[in-house]
Amino acid sequence: MIIEGGCHCRNITFTLRWEPDPTEIPARACTCTFCVKHGGVWTSNPKGSLRVSIEDRSRVNEYAFGTRTALFHTCRRCGIVPVVTSTIDGHLYAVVSVNAFENVDPAMLKRSPATFDAESPDTRLARRVRNWIADVQFVPATPG
């Protein structure tokens, strides 16, 4: 399945290749302060392939807080956060927002809260290496 998504004004768009086709998609409602205020609900498939396109890079804010090991790619035009990335040992990992999906039946989303507050920084990065999307590329935006 090719999942499509993006921010509302389409400055940031993504495609996530998820094979084989999922019967359900885990949707983790993170309980950290950022995600609670943003209503952030995330998913990832460690074997998936994510391609992210940005139309106007000057209109993307890469927000970091707390351990500052993750970048929240926030559109400056519409305020949506479709993608979060983390660079670990020189490799780029990512999760995407299920709220930004465009072609997924909401009934496929299996929602659950996820609390990572007690993790040590090393444990946190090791979890991301295990669970986050490991094939992540930022590609040029296609016109139109």
């Binding site: 993170c30 309980t31 205020k37 709220n99």
Partner: protein
């Protein structure tokens, strides 16, 4: 009275009373924002502070978010109504969860039918995460 602020503290609002219900809308913008709206009028029962970036939608309203941390603070009607009042709504996700835990959720179909959906009896504490 209830107060809210974005993650970095730049954008703030206050609402005179804890509302009976909050609206979760399914439109293409609101579902991305994950917002829970509480309605009122600018300068009456709602006051907002700090710098926000407006994302203007058509002629009706703008969504307003913090330029630093991106949190959506409120939406603001673009025009005044016949009584000269401006409709607004604040995003209850900016508030502390405790005082609003038992506020009921009103589901609104902003995607297809543009109408209220039946209540499922859930309140904010059931959907906070």
């Amino acid at each position: 009275m209830i107060k809210g602020s974005c993650l970095c503290g730049s954008a703030t609002w206050q609402l005179d009373e804890i509302p009976a219900s909050a609206t979760a809308c399914s439109c293409t913008a609101c579902r991305r924002y994950g917002a829970l709206w509480a309605y009122g009028y600018e300068g009456e029962d709602i006051r907002v502070g700090g710098e926000t970036t407006p994302y203007v939608r058509g002629t009706a309203l703008s969504f307003n978010f913090c330029p630093k941390c991106g949190c959506v603070s409120h939406w603001r009607g673009s025009k005044l109504d016949e009584q000269g009042r401006r409709r607004m709504a604040v995003n209850l996700r900016m508030a502390e969860p405790g005082p609003i835990a038992h506020v009921l959720i009103d589901h609104f179909d902003g995607l297809e039918k543009w109408d209220d959906l039946p209540s499922d009896g859930k309140c904010i504490k059931d959907v906070w995460f």
